[in-house]
Amino acid sequence: MATVEWTTPVSKEEILKVRVGDIVYISGEILTARDRAHERALKYLEAGKKLPIDLNGAVVFYCGPLIKKIGERLKIVSCGPTTTMRMNGYIREIVKRISHIVLVGKGEKGNEIAEALRGKGVFLAFPGGVGALAARAVKSINAIHWEDLGLPEAVWVLEVEKLGPCVVAIDAHGNNIYEEVERRVEENFRQLLVKIE
């Protein structure tokens, strides 16, 4: 297992280099997106409309941050990842339309996006609920796009320093930890059933 440090934007070569189980720390500009931001981003891409941020080489953090208003200033208080599987349909379509991408999410089940990410992207796992720790890596809020979606669903452009450790859970070569675990779990469940029934 290798440990690497990435600075955004991440190059395709860097993405292709890592394998499942590797540890990644991210520094630089990342963006947050949830369900409604994905829906809108895909609409823009389909219509050939320019997105407020370039998704090629971007690091998308699946997160709806908890924000505190201090006077006119906004502060990120806690910002752990959310489940990304709800957005798989959008992710597959969006990935088709860009060159390469890094996704950061949390605990999944199976998560069948390895094919969509093949040769193009990785899925990094950051533990869910670990929002206080993640917020410590956030150095500044550089921009907020699509605020009309509501603050948790808006696209936040954040400057982070060594966000991690993130684990490569799906790499760009078709390897997927979630699918491996899922297969083992199904087998263990079958064995359990024999015992209890």
Binding site: V77, G80, V167, I177, V181, L192
Partner: protein, 298 residues
């Protein structure tokens, strides 16, 4: 002087509110402030029992990814407690349990006070505005809405008012399940509980705490499953619960679904009698960030 005992885990905290003013009984303002403090405590401080369970899990794991996840979770709990910030950005949907002593006479709107407490906590703690209309998805921005906060009211003996808050995140709530089992097949309960945990995989942020409600009615079983999560020490399990836990952990889902020995930290069961022709079973899954806090007002 009103003394509020904030009971959480094994520790007892005593807060003195309104030190200067002598107050003859519980009032609106006290309830509002208590609700705010309970939410603050719940979302920023994880109970000692849960921390102990997570530490044991860390020691027990030999899978490197699982160990890494548990280490980060424990570190996060420490950072949140020290900096007084919510452990998780999903500060949940507000659920409040009210145990009302039958000898109490309240001359104010208790429900309105709890609602106001949630509103105030949202701004002051802060809590993420998570409450939306079910169809339009419009956010109320203050965590208050139709039937929200969700109140569970019970009438008890005595002259105290006990308030317990359980802010519940969506990841774990979304994978919870309820089933009306055939009444003569109690062995199906084990299968249903394990199957629910298996289907959830890594989505509810394991290691989870599994609340199980057995019996009662369709709605009663769900309520029992949620109530089960309130057990003061999650490590105090009976034989049936420990057996279920062992089976669940043999699945190998592991912390965050990346594999390992710890899928759940505890299985907590509450039972109720039921109709002779039915056997309702509900499974309410709770993420590792088990946030709860109680206060007793006199």
């Amino acid at each position: 002087m009103i003394i509020v005992d904030i009971l959480q885990k094994n520790a007892t905290y005593i807060c003195l509110l309104h030190k200067k003013k002598l107050m003859p009984s519980i009032d609106y303002h006290t309830v509002v402030e208590t609700v705010v403090e309970l939410f603050r405590k719940a979302v920023t401080e994880i109970g000692d029992d849960v921390i102990l369970a997570l530490r044991k899990a860390y020691e027990n794991e030999d899978n490197e990814l699982a160990k890494n996840n548990l280490k980060m979770i424990l570190e996060n709990i420490e950072v949140a407690r020290k900096s007084k910030i919510p452990v998780c950005q999903d500060t949940g949907i507000p659920v409040v349990f009210v145990e009302l002593g039958r000898e109490l006479h309240l001359d104010f709107d208790l429900k309105a006070a709890i609602v106001e407490g949630v509103r105030k906590a949202t701004e002051e703690v802060p809590l993420r505005p998570n409450v939306v209309h079910p169809i339009t998805r419009e956010n109320t921005m203050d965590n208050v809405g139709l039937h929200v906060p969700h109140l569970n009211v019970d009438i008890t003996d005595g002259d105290t008012l006990k308030l317990t808050v359980l802010p519940k995140g969506a990841g774990s709530e979304n994978v919870s399940a309820l089933k009306m089992l055939p009444p003569t097949k109690p062995n199906k309960i084990t299968r249903f509980v394990i199957e629910t945990v298996k289907e959830a995989g890594g989505m509810p942020c394991p290691p989870t705490i599994v609340g199980v409600g057995i019996g009662s009615t369709f709605d009663g079983a769900a309520k029992l499953a949620k109530k089960a999560l309130l057990r003061e020490n999650i490590l105090e399990m009976n034989e049936f619960e420990l057996e279920l836990l062992e089976k669940i952990n043999s699945l190998g889902i592991g912390p965050m679904g990346l594999g390992g020995k710890t899928t759940s930290l505890a299985v907590l069961v509450e039972m109720g009698h039921c109709h002779l022709a039915s056997l309702p079973v509900a499974v309410n899954i709770q993420c590792w960030a088990h946030r709860r806090a109680s206060a007793v007002l006199r």
